[in-house]
Amino acid sequence: MTTLDPIQVFRTEAAELFEQIEGGLLDLLHDLSNQDQIDAVFRGLHTLKGSGAMFGFEALAAFTHHCETAFDRVRKGEVPASAELVACVLAAQDHMKALVDRPNGDHAEEGDRLLAELQAAVGGQGGIGTVVTPPLAASAPAKAENAATTWKLSFRLPSNAMANGTNPLGLLDELRELGTCEIKADVSKVPGLNQIEPADLYVSWQVTLTTEQPRSAIDDVFIFVMDEMELQIEQQSSPTPAAGIKATDTPTAPAAEKTVTEPPAKAEASPAAVAETKNGKAAENVRVPAERLDELMDRVGELVIAQSRLSQLAGSSVDIQLRAVSEDVERLSGELRDTMMVLRMVPVTQLFSRFRRLVHDLARETGKMIELEFEGETTEVDKTVIERLADPLVHLVRNSIDHGLELPDERIAAGKDRAGRVLLSARQAGGEVIITIKDDGRGINRERVRAKAEASGLVQPGQQLMDQELLQLIFQPGFSTAAQVTNLSGRGVGMDVVKKTVEALRGVIDIRSEPGRGSEISLRIPLTLAIIDGLLVRVGSGNYVIPLSAVEECLELSLEEDLRSRGRSFISLRDSLVPYLRLRDLFRTGTAPDRYQKVVVISTGDERVGLVVDQIIGDHQTVIKSMSKLHHDVVTFSGATILGDGSVALILDVMHLINVGQQQEAQLRAAG
């Protein structure tokens, strides 16, 4: 077992905290008065500061401290949350990330600039604010005019609190800052010396606190330890005259029990590594390196293969017991495979949430108003797919915003809302997940696409193009219709990368666009890269797998039809002509056709092609094995799989076959 590098652990933790802080900040933008989000951001910043200091990221801790302070004031209602403040803290957060990644880099200048901005965002507001409360430290001497209340608190921290980094004295100091305190330690639970665990906490406290601060201020003291502790707060008496406070204020009034008097420490002494209180369920998750999952996946894949061999053997045996065991193994390995698949699945929220920040920044840069909406965030997709999709989606969203959405004034002129909408949605359909980026902007300008394509020689002037073909031109390398190269897009790199990435994931891109109404780009990606449902067919003496998600239907190709269609490779399927390919010819098997050949109709979107095979064997769960570099020039196959008898079957690349079929159709059309 390898020991984890603590710094690395912190970085992982920090990454999560950043996500939490960023999420909170962006939510806050929608509802600036949302106290829960303000608290969440504050807690995140606080934990980051604490852990940062613990792991030696001093610069980070110091910098974060300022942001935390700023948010503390927001939390206490001294300063209203504002969009400027959020933007400022978002920028500050990027700086914190830099501090985490390169703790020794020179960040001082950038940090000072951000802090100045932060000051402006908070201080400026504080000046005009009506609810200016004096700093807490100053509030300790009670003000006579404020109604002071006496609270009786008793609290007990869990025995491992100190081991977790909570400093009870810090809590007491914070209480003391709120008002006059009389603190009694209850040492009745302290065991005899022989039983004492030095690191455990046995003491509980009873505090009589007189303060003009509201009850929430007391709660705030315990905000980081609230979940694990016992805390009782009772209001003891209604407003006490100021003189009364003075009387109890005398620290020289030790009761029967020991009064704790410690020099007041600064707030930094308070809990450093506090458990994240809100997401208590985080503890139930286990972080596993992805490669271990991949290894497990391989083993499961091999098990599935071994199991199907076993069931073939058992099927041909008369031994009842062997059959029973084989059935058990079949069921178990099936379940194991399903569980394994789920392990790798993560909700697309992970993918989508990073766009909120992107869109926020883009809106500021472009001066456009953008509403980003999500749909189907809970749809689950293989983790690898999610990771590989991140970059293409960034390109697409940028394109939507930069090329698609208009400026607010243009939108009003066009009779639309000021704010442009970008909708990111995900849904599952069969073995595929469909991710759609939809905007309500100006749509794709087909004339400009065409003009550009003609200018760069991609199409001949006057060449007939189907609408979809024309739109797909935007995925050609070096293609951009942006008249000006902007910071965001328009360099013509990106879109072809999008297409390549999606195709590498065995996915397809559909584009729809209505002038003036917006565009919609859909990515259809297989749910997983590792296992597919396939239709096992025989062509000549070889077995091949056709991905089931592409199969539309199977029908018989009668001998007469086969002979009749020598000249034209079309079958008519419910009044539409579907071109077909004889895989026997394509693969040059050199064998005679079976008497009852079958046609498997495959499709992607609107395009359909029939594949003539000799025999349909049945459906088959397929563990995809990639082919080596030596076979990269063979485009007909996307991979291979191992069948129950140990032999290898090749998996047909549906996209490629459809292209071949369409070309054949086009040639025939041209000839006819």
Partner: protein, 175 residues
Amino acid sequence: MTIAASKHEFDRLWNGAEELAVLTFNLNGETFAIEAIVVQEILDLLPETSVPGSQAFVGSVINFRGKVIPLADIRLAFGMEATKPTIDSRIVVIELDLGGEPTLIGIRTDRVYEVTTLSRSASEPPPSVGMRWRADYIDCLVKRDGEFIILPNLNAIFNSRGERGGSAAANSEGR
């Protein structure tokens, strides 16, 4: 291939050592040798699946312990005839670095002899004339017991085919 380049390949193979452990095998009557260190396993013939549309030289794939690996016939690279498999035919599985990826490849052989050591003093770079095979496909020739053992340059054979597609295979088939 220049003499300097072949000298370089020659030196890379021996790497200063006087002896080299190899696996020797027979292809169409010629004795070949592969560095023992790259050999993973020697298998009996397995059911093969031909890959339509691939180069004849790597025309099929096999199931090697749950992995799908290409089965290569280097006889075709040397312009030899592909003969029918016999009872002595074996598949030698090697691991080779192809464009940065370690790749398992099965090589068809007519018969596997032994693991042995060859000595550098008996070896020489391929002659630039008087040979019917491509000189850059051969690392060196080692004389032993009155015959030559051929050490093929597997990197050159497989990498050139990976990149250039079928042209090289077409050439060698044509001869």
